[in-house]
Amino acid sequence: MKDEKSVASARLTLAERAELLVIGAGPAGLSAAITAAEAGMQVVLVDENPVPFEVMGDDVPLHFGQGASGVARNSAAMLEAIIESEPLIERAFEAGVDLRLGVAAWGLYANGPEMRWLPGAVAGLTDGAQGWMLGADHVIVASGRRDMGLAFPGWERPGVMGATAAVTLARRYQALAPRRVVLIGTGAEALLAARELMACGVEIAAIVEQASAPVGPPALAAEVASLLSSTGGEMLCGHVPRGVAGGEAVTGLTAAPVAGGAVREIACDGVILGVGVTPVVDLLGAMGCDLAFQAERGGYAPLLGPSGRTSVASVHAVGDCAGIWPKKSADRAIAEAEGARAAAAILTETGRAAPSLPEPELPGPPALDLSAYRTAWMRAAVIDAPCGAHVCQCEEVTAREILELRPPRYLGWAPPEGTNDERSLARLLGEGPPNPDQVKRLTRAGMGPCQGRRCREQVAALLALQSGETLAQIPLAGYRAPVRPLPLAIAAQIPEVEEMRAHWEVWFGIPSQWRPWWEHPGHYTSAGRERGAQVNSE
């Protein structure tokens, strides 16, 4: 007997299949695709870049902060810029990789204990006009990194953007609008971004750090400090950003000493947030791969077996999404080696001749206490700020509202007289760590169209500060498909097969569930149950 209203009637329409799908055409993804294609595999490689200008305006996939110049409106030029900036792309074409730029993977799915109806691993793809599903025997995710936000007053202003976004605009597209910037943060990735930006001709007026000295690798810090002073810039340690000057455009940043004292006005036309980078694990998380906080990998990252295998058998993770550490950030050969090794493992598994490659190097113990550093920034720049900025820009939620679990302001809620208004996180906790998803449900922080890309790490740091836990103790707010905002009209293009249309139900389609209670018989048997009729599920 089959329940026709269940997924027993469901069938997903795949537009195409690939032996190997690689998501992300950075060094790791390209290297994986080339290795597999050169050994004869049928490889599809997708990368969402260049994203359309309007989508960049929504900070997808990086915190661009409206910092892209007019060049970014020209999608053909952007496409060309990607191809020119990355020598491996030419090699991928030569190897026969089916490389598609401007195609985003918004979902990745695989069967598991709680889902069995799929025809294997599938990915949801879109090019901005069409949406479709691709089935894959194997998937290598190389979805890269993004920047942590920092809700200092004024951070929502155009021209305030993430370091990865700034370097991408400057290096890959020559489309970074600001020419004289202040960089916030001195970790390894921030210092590398500073070096990159200066190499691209961007003037760095100052680097602001809340700690008393740069926190990145000493040699790199010294190199950047010397570059900085040779161009008239300064390293401002023990300072935090307190505000942004200017009208439509940024004209300056106010920096204040953490210890108190005279503030500094620094003229600039952009502010670059470099307080932290994080692996982009959205697709992996949404599909149910096991993730864990791994300080040596830069925060929440997939738990990996040999060759980058994730907990989902057909899926590997390589490059920055598998872990970010200073040496890897400085040397793309490590990400390339990860990609090639994962591809080789898949080749071996599928009975093909694979190049003999060593396991890529693993991260050492972390040199920086990620939890202490990020929470210190949140305390100094956000909590201690005299006026509260919106940590969640989409839903306009401040740090105070997050910590006090306030219902959203648009509800205009005031607790009735006499009710106990101590509805705090502490009262919610019991004996467990605070959960960002619980906070999201009650305050809407992280619920907006940017899907938490700008506030996720900040909310975690706030909860860590409040509960006295480290970031490792704060659960990861869940990732959900679509991991990129997907118009209904594009989702609707994925065909619904006739079996599904015919048996589609509001709810389970159990006739007796919707019979008014006075019509229920005294006894129920499966043999005697009502069947066949169409059910008016409510």
Binding site: L118, P475, V506, Q513
Partner: protein, 393 residues
Amino acid sequence: MQINDPDTPRGADVVIIGGGVTGLSAGWWLAQSGVDVMVLEAGLVAFGASGRNGGGCTHFQSPLFKEEQRLWPMMDELLGHPTEFCRGRLRIATDDAQMALYGTSQPTMRRLGYACEQLDAAQIRELAPLAGDAAHGGYFYDVGGHANPHRTAQGYAWALQDHGGRIAQHCRVTGFVVEGGQVRAVQTSRGEISCQKVVIAAGPQTGALAAMLGASVPMVTARAEMIVTEPAPLMPLTGVDGNGLYGRQTLRGNLAYGGGMHEWLGDPEPGEAPRPGPPSSPLMAHIGRRLMEILPKAAHLRIIRSWAGKIENTPDGAPVIDWLPGCDNALVATMSSVGFGLSPASGHAIRDLVIDGTCSFADLSTFRLARFDRLEPDWREMQGWTPLIQGAA
């Protein structure tokens, strides 16, 4: 709440297993009546289906519906927290067949004395401008409505604490101490908690927990899915669905909808803490298509999340709220996949049964467990409520 706190008694008069809306509402009702109550939750409150549903409050097939409708407009005040309850519901039909099907509810509505108005396309556009020209027709119920599950569930939790009740999260039940046909204590991952009475309202775990007490509460768990879009301007009526969907426009403006194929799952491990959230599937796209069919002016809106919830169903899809046979101080409560909207009333019913032995406001005879006395042992197979074989799809 710290149950390991030495100052806290290691027990309660009534222990409720399950921190979903049913258990929390029951706990709130009991605490209001001065009962010493403790809710045990394996994970976090409302992290199962109670926090993953569409927020519908229009279940007039239930004997609890009248009480539900009496209570919802007062819930903000009673809980001291905004539930976002909005009255009224519009079901949009896209063709004659749907119109005819939705019309079959009319006799029930009439008998209960509720107004149900048939609307044409122009009237629908007025209430739901996003419907544009798509509506074929529809029905407007000036009753029922929807609320925000997250805020409501948390409201129950805080309100029960206000009345002196206790909640222990991250507390898994591992067994029971039974003496003389009565549960004397609940064994948990955090120690033994003595009780005078126990209420099992643990969603998909309810059957396994009842089995520990030697009772059969037939049920199967399934996964169902929902989507939500970015906000749109608020429509004059937010309780709008139809075309095989349930859902609402939230007061923030997002369109939150679900429907379509469910997936039957295997039994959960006894005491298993809920996973961070079961995976959702590409069913998302089909829900999106159907939403666009009834609200075509929302076609440009972007889906920003999809999610899944796990819910249990009894063989006939009706609730069980009854004492367990052979264990006469253990009450079992499952709402059979339709629990959120009815929760103000289901909690009241449980309170009445626990304190007074009988429900003061409704006839709960259809919720009796004895209706399954003649149920076939292989009923799951007979109804096709069995998990797919892995990889066979």
